[in-house]
Structures are given as structure tokens and as C-alpha cells.
Amino acid sequence: MTEDATITTQHIVDQLGSAFPQAGIEPVAAKDPMVRVKPEHLVEVATYLRDQAGLDYLSHVTGIDYSDRIEVLYYLYSMKRHLGPLALRVSLSRENPQVPSLVSLWSGADWQEREVYDLLGVVFTAHPNLKRILLWDGFPGYPLRKDFQGEPEPPFRHSY
């Protein structure tokens, strides 16, 4: 990758498609540049983005439950070249959500992936320490899933 100052995130998105033809690169219409990737190619695409495209900073990892699928988002920026954002998305099945972990690329992904695992039940394969982080071990279910049923809220009572 050239150290061209005029390079924009859009260029990176364009190049990504040609660099990884088999990775299912598919731009997503959104407010920020966003690309959907097949989960099994996530690590190589992310490695390319970090090392070649210079997006060296993983801002955050998020999971969203869309009722029919679970998507995991990775927001990438470049700190050195003030580029970004470029978001990577992976779609996963709700029954068996599995995605390779990016801890080997960004140590900052460690706790965030644990949080997504904790709250949404996405399994990050090859994560060194995939345990619940905010909730306790043995908590039933994954609270941020839309079909999560917690204990029913007590109604507003007038006497205690």
C-alpha cells in the first residue's frame, strides 16, 4: 500500500473486493463505509486492512441481534493516517454463531469479544480466554438477544 495522503476509505473498500474475490466482500449501504465479509475470511481481510491498508486501530466490536441473524461489527480507523471509519460486518446464524477471534491482531479486541460473547452468545473461536465478563458464570441465556426472557419485572406496587 502506498503512503498516499489522498487515499480514502472508499479506495480501500474498492481494493478489498479485488484483493479477496472469494471472501464475499459486499459493501453495505450505511452512514459509514461498511463491508460485509464471510466469517471464515475475516481474519485475512482484517490482517490485510491492518497491515496493508493501515487501519491500525480497532475502535470497537459490537454484536447486534436482528432476530433472523446475528451480526458482529468491527469498526476500524487509522490513527497514523487519520482514516476511517471502515466497518467490517459478519453475518452469523442465530443457532450457532461462530466467528474467528481477532485478538491475535488487536489485543484491544480481547475484552470486547468477551462482552459480545457474554451478552449475545457469539463464540469467538481461538479466543484465548472466552469467558463471561460482565455477567457471572452460569448466567442463563444471553440478555441482548431479542428473545431473551429475564425474570419478570415486578409491577409498581404501592405497599412493600
Binding site: F156, H158, S159, Y160
Partner: protein
């Protein structure tokens, strides 16, 4: 030089020490005896405004505040009076779950709610934290935030 920074720090504290005797160094307010004036916008738990002329509540029991409350702390029971006008038969605020965000006051389209001036709210029993209509009713001149608007 080694020790100079420490001496500088010591000088600062000594200055503060002397200031409390000869200057206005003391900053604390002796709370139960001295009280700071309540700012007009102070956000206590909401109170119902009573019209001083008629002695009736302005509230028409529309229920917008109940829907605006993030915590569901308001319980409203609607009643109708002789002239078929709606009024709050019961209007309870659960002070234990109310977080004094003031969204109900903002939502009220009739200016019937205002942020109250109450701030010493500790109680021994949770039951005492449920404020009923009589506790919450105040005339406008007792409500600092009402005049601020």
C-alpha cells in the same frame, strides 16, 4: 534541586492553612445550620401544581407523564368530577425508583407538573417513599422551578 519540589508543596499547604484563619479559605458549608440557596432549576421529584385561585390541581390526568417516565414510577388513576372533567383520583410517585430526571415535567403539556424543592428524602421504610397526591400538591409560589420558567 532535590527537595525543592517538596518545599514548594509544603508552602502551598501552609498557605491554605493560614488562609483559613485570616482569609476566606474555608470552603465547607455547615450543612444542617447553613444551607446553600436552592437554584431555581433544582430538579427534585415532580410535584403537582395547584391553582391558588380555585384550589384545584391543574392536572387533567392525561397520562403523558406516566408514559414519559423511564422507570414507570408514576401511578395514575383517572377520576371524573361532577362536570365530567377528568382529574387524578390517585397520583402516586414512587420516590424509590424516581431518578429525578425531569422528563415528566418536560412532557407535561399543561404545565401541571414542576420539579419540586424537596431534597431531604431519606426514610426508614420504603413505603414512606411513595408520595401521594396530597404530599405532592404545592401552590406555584412554593416551587422555585416554576418561577424559573
Amino acid at each position: 534541586m532535590y527537595g525543592l519540589g517538596i518545599l514548594k508543596g509544603l508552602w502551598v499547604t501552609l498557605k491554605h492553612y493560614i488562609d483559613t484563619y485570616i482569609g476566606d479559605g474555608i470552603f465547607t458549608v455547615q450543612y444542617p445550620e447553613e444551607r446553600l440557596p436552592l437554584p431555581p432549576r433544582f430538579r427534585g421529584n415532580p410535584v403537582l401544581i395547584m391553582d391558588t385561585a380555585t384550589g384545584k390541581l391543574r392536572c387533567v390526568a392525561c397520562g403523558i407523564c406516566v408514559r414519559a417516565c423511564p422507570n414507570g414510577s408514576i401511578a395514575l388513576e383517572v377520576g371524573t368530577d361532577e362536570s365530567k372533567k377528568k382529574f387524578p383520583e390517585r397520583y402516586d410517585i414512587n420516590g424509590g425508583t424516581c431518578m429525578r430526571c425531569g422528563l415528566c415535567v418536560e412532557a407535561c403539556p399543561f404545565d401541571a407538573l414542576a420539579s419540586g424543592p424537596y431534597y431531604e428524602l431519606a426514610s426508614y421504610r420504603r413505603q414512606e417513599l411513595i408520595y401521594d397526591k396530597h404530599y405532592l400538591t404545592l401552590p406555584p409560589d412554593k416551587i422555585p422551578s416554576y418561577h424559573a420558567r
